[in-house]
Amino acid sequence: MNLRSIGTRVGLGAAILAGTLLAGATFRAQTNTSSLWIHVRVENPDNKDETVRVNLPVALAEILVSSVDHDQLHHGHINISHHADLNGVDLRAMVEAVKSAPDGEFVSVKSRDQDVHVSKQKGFLLIRVNDSTRKDKQEVDVRVPMSVVDALISSSKGSDDLDLGAALRALASHGDSELVNVKDGKETVHIWLDSKNDGD
């Protein structure tokens, strides 16, 4: 038996096995990102007759967002200049500052009826709002991957423009994610991303 030939065969076998595993992993990664779905649920536990369910593949959402040219949405870019609250705020500079900052809380506003917290934790931008000024107490929880926040502004066309298409692409590459939870009185709004087509 020729040892050199055995070594060559083992090497070749290992190379084939490595190649197969690599191709399998790449294929799996591609399948995961391309089969993600965005789910939206608006529900009221007290009134089962009022519900909104939306289940859209991220790929389709991206096509729709990139195609619309109406009102504030232009081919994947959304204009936020009409938001008076943002007057004078340079979103790009703000996101850059948050990106380069270590994990921690950036904003904490506490008043008698309102509680607002903005923080960064393990690659996520977290926003929590508790508002009891309204008749029905409102709780908002937003959890956005920093890569998505970055994509929103990285290819934007100005300080009041957000690239929604790029954000969706970034979201798709991120995998399963909880994005928004809102509790407004008895009504709940839940937005999340996973690979199930029914979201249940």
């Binding site: 007759d49 369910r53 939306v54 289940n55 859209l56 729709l64 195609s67 619309v68 087509n197």
Partner: protein, 145 residues
């Protein structure tokens, strides 16, 4: 001689039917709850929509050029993307008086609306949406030359 004519007629009919049926059928059903309400159930070859698109007046394209330039490619891309999906509920809106359901069902898209007044259900094959949008897009582009 008569046999040959009959055979020719049969072959032509089968060929035409096969051509018309290649894209499937559009199903439309409308049921009004009123006492003398309409009950309409239609099954129309989807290919007719594509054929009709060929005869759409070019003047109309010029009037809505901007909207069509966005809408038609979106329709084509969406149909291409939807056909890959498993059967799924895409949108469901329910309130006390109305229930709207948009689903991917088989090779088509189903839109259903139910209210105390009526029950409307439409099923359109995705291939027909793609083909019709493609013909309209071609015509719209010809109109801009």
């Amino acid at each position: 001689m008569l046999g040959k004519i009959a055979l020719g007629f049969l072959v032509t009919t089968v060929a035409c039917s096969a051509y018309v049926m290649q894209d499937g059928f559009v199903h439309v059903s409308v049921d009004e709850s009123a006492k003398n309400g309409t009950h309409l159930h239609l099954v129309v070859p989807a290919e007719l929509a594509t054929i009709a698109a060929h005869f759409a007046p070019p003047k109309k394209f010029a009037e809505h050029q901007r909207e069509l330039r966005t809408l038609l490619p979106t329709l084509k891309l969406s149909a291409q993307e939807l056909v890959k999906l498993p059967d799924s509920v895409l949108v469901e809106v329910r309130d006390a008086n109305q229930h709207v359901l948009i689903c991917k069902a088989g090779d088509g898209i189903s839109i259903e609306e139910e209210s105390p007044k009526e029950h409307v259900k439409v099923w359109v094959p995705l291939h027909a949406i793609y083909d019709t949008a493609a013909v309209l897009q071609e015509k719209a582009e010809d109109g801009t030359d």
